[in-house]
């Protein structure tokens, strides 16, 4: 985290420094890098986020300034809008991939290596496959393991298709949001003269299209499909790991879960017993109270006699 933050700070500082030398007409920036080590916790994360977001904003702004200065005040900004759309497409794709990312173990398996890479033949994917296929024959698992691998591939294919279907919805949302955005600019009255306004208009345009799109049955199905595909893959890998751990005689997640279930059951039984005991104690106290009252009444009667 601290490294990332430091890196971002340095990027930001370099960027601003560059701007101060290169920006035509002088730079609007006069910025001093905060000491990232002086902040911690959520504030540090926030600084990181701010820096990242500001970089994007400044980059976008500088491009517009450049375009305007090259082509004059009444410039046609279609090139910029195209650029913005590409930028948006990239951001959306990153967001989709990070939201529906492959389970960690599988993500590691699919990290690519170049042919010059020392890890080419010993990368996590090869290593994982080797360890799977090296299961002792005498356990009779070779065939079932092959079947498992096939199931894994099927799940991966389903994940890939689900992701494609889901991404298609976002491409459509982006396109219609951009159309909506351009239409809104055309009809803006009074006209838009600031980047902040432009951003707000974009957000409005996007959210309008987005809320309509996600309310459709198609989107619902695509969302359900990708959610379930990611979970099935994750579960598959967990089950594979459980089998391996079991073969090695190491307690696995499934066994731990069974213990949790038993513990839960026992906790419930214990609570139920405690409740019964408490009710019995209350009854006992009531009986004692009644006995005392009865004794006192009998005593009174005896005295009266």
């Amino acid at each position: 985290m601290a490294d990332d933050l430091l890196k971002l700070m340095q990027q930001w500082a370099t960027y601003l420094d560059k701007q101060s030398h290169e920006a035509p007409g002088g730079t609007p920036f006069n910025w001093q890098s905060p000491d990232p080590t002086s902040v911690s916790g959520p504030q540090a994360e926030l600084i990181s986020l701010l820096t990242q977001q500001s970089l994007e904003f400044a980059r976008f702004a500088e491009q517009i300034i450049e375009l305007i200065e090259q082509q004059g005040r009444q410039t046609e900004l279609s090139a910029l809008i195209n650029h913005f759309q590409d930028h948006l497409r990239r951001l959306t794709q990153e967001w989709i991939l990070s939201r529906w990312q492959l389970p960690e173990q599988l993500g590691a398996l699919f990290r690519t290596h170049s042919f010059q890479d020392d890890l080419l033949l010993d990368n996590p994917f090869i290593h994982g496959l080797k360890s799977l296929l090296n299961t002792p024959d005498q356990l009779g698992l070779q065939h079932s393991l092959q079947q498992q691998l096939k199931s894994g591939v099927d799940l991966l294919i389903e994940y890939e298709q689900a992701l494609r279907q889901y991404s298609a919805h976002y491409s459509e949302i982006n396109s219609s949001a951009t159309r909506n955005f351009l239409d809104s600019i055309e009809t803006a009255d009074p006209s838009i003269n600031g980047l902040g306004q432009l951003h707000d208009l974009w957000v409005e345009s996007y959210e309008e299209c987005y809320s309509k799109a996600i309310a459709t049955l198609d989107y619902r199905k695509a969302h359900g499909r990708i959610s379930n595909a990611v979970m099935r893959l994750r579960l598959f890998l967990q089950q594979l790991r459980n089998t391996q751990l079991q073969q090695l005689g190491i307690p696995n997640e499934a066994q731990l879960s069974q213990i949790h279930q038993q513990l839960h059951q026992q906790r419930r039984e214990l609570k139920s017993l405690k409740r019964e005991l408490s009710e019995l104690t209350e009854l006992k106290e009531e009986i004692e109270e009644l006995k005392r009252t009865l004794g006192e009444k009998n005593g009174d009667k005896g005295n009266n006699r």
């Binding site: 007409g25 609007p28 920036f29 006069n30 910025w31 905060p34 000491d35 902040v39 504030q43 926030l46 600084i47 986020l49 701010l50 977001q53 500001s54 400044a58 300034i65 305007i68 200065e69 005040r73 900004l77 939201r99 809104s184 600019i185 055309e186 803006a188 009255d189 006209s191 838009i192 600031g194 980047l195 902040g196 432009l198 951003h199 974009w202 957000v203 959210e207 987005y210 809320s211 996600i214 309310a215 199905k221 969302h223 359900g224 959610s227 379930n228 979970m231 099935r232 994750r234 579960l235 967990q238 731990l256 879960s257 949790h260 279930q261 839960h264 059951q265 906790r267 419930r268 609570k271």
Partner: protein, 357 residues
């Protein structure tokens, strides 16, 4: 483009302002050491496993009337300190200042060993024991129950199952009809395999739910919120407000697997609460058993629980004393925004103080 008149000069000015605020934000953030939440004095009066029950005594306001106590049942999906975020944004603080003794249930953070906790455990054990403990502490036979969001749905279930223990019922931003056309969260939950989710994750990670909520308005809660940050953070008090809220947003506990599954399947996917077919521990939840006076508070701009879902309560119970209050706020704003806090606690106090018949 007709509606666009950007000039390099204006953009430079805008960037300059943005940058100045950014610098101020960095300075402010560097000066903030701790983000504190929970402002109102309280004491723990009961615990059951990870569940805690807190008591917030009414503030001595010299001559102000002491009102009947209220037990707050918050949702499982977030932490209950949002009801007492900071002195000037505290539903609990506002209530105690107006003479209401408040009890608050804190469900705690479920651990992996809590995966098998069911809705029966939450409602028939934890909520029930808190109702009993608060009634005993307040020396009342019945208590007023105030449920927020999912806690409101729990409160409805509990009141339907144990009407003899509840005096009055207040529901805040509570989902009742899970199948209204504009209930996006429910719409998205329809195709998700809840059995698979629990088999895969055990307890459902809080982050996963947070991502889901954020995905309902990705641009507004992403780009727009982030770009507005320098303005928000350039002032210390505003920055602290923001950080407190962020702390709460990112502090979503994991959800006990079984209870989550039951809630998704029975409530979101099958809408059984409204059909009178939801089951808690083998007992059917019949909302018609609820005859208590009800105050139903709804956020007009609630994007998580749309007003249409909460309004279904009006026809669902047998209460002859149903009152609805629609607040000009979103889901959280109903009990956090300064504007709503001028309206909501006062309305609750008036209602508690008014005769039921």
């Amino acid at each position: 483009m007709k509606g666009l008149s950007l000039s390099a000069e204006t953009i430079r000015e805008e960037l300059q302002t943005f940058n100045n605020r950014l610098q101020q934000s960095y300075q402010v953030l560097q000066q903030i050491e701790e983000v504190d939440v929970g402002a109102t004095p309280r004491e723990e009066i009961f615990r059951n496993d990870r569940v805690r029950l807190y008591y917030y005594p009414p503030t001595e306001t010299g001559g102000s009337k002491l009102l009947p106590p209220v037990l707050i049942c918050y949702a499982l999906v977030n932490r209950p300190y949002i009801a007492d975020l900071q002195p000037d944004r505290s539903l609990i603080g506002s209530l105690t200042r107006q003479g209401v003794p408040v009890y608050l249930i804190d469900w705690g953070y479920p651990e992996p060993s809590d995966r098998y906790l069911t809705l029966e455990d939450y409602i028939e054990d934890y909520l029930d024991s808190c109702v009993r403990a608060s009634s005993k502490h307040a020396a009342q036979e019945k208590i007023n129950l105030l449920g927020i969001c999912q806690g409101g749905t729990f409160s409805l279930c509990y009141t339907a199952l144990h009407p003899e223990r509840i005096e009055r019922l207040i529901t805040l931003v509570t989902p009742v009809d899970f199948h209204t056309a504009d209930f996006t969260l429910s719409h998205l939950a329809m195709e998700v395999d809840a059995d698979l989710a629990v088999e895969t994750y055990g307890n459902i990670p809080g982050e996963l739910l947070n991502d889901t909520y954020n995905s309902l308005m990705p641009m507004r809660l992403g780009v727009q919120k982030n770009l507005g940050l320098p303005k928000q953070l350039s002032d210390r008090e505003k920055a602290l407000n923001f950080l407190r809220m962020e702390k709460w947003i990112n502090d979503g506990p994991d959800q006990a697997g079984e209870a989550f599954k039951q809630f998704i399947q029975q409530f979101f996917q099958q809408n059984l609460l409204l059909k009178g077919e939801a089951e808690i521990g083998g007992w059917k939840v019949d909302l018609k058993q609820i005859k208590q006076p009800i105050l139903n508070i709804i956020g007009r701009h609630d994007h998580l629980v749309p007003p249409s879902s909460s309004k279904a309560l009006k026809q669902a119970t047998s209460s002859r004393h149903y009152k609805e209050l629609i607040v000009d706020a979103g889901h959280i704003g109903v009990f956090v925004s300064s504007r709503a806090l001028k309206q909501v606690p006062a309305a609750i106090c008036d209602w508690l103080d008014s005769p039921a018949d």
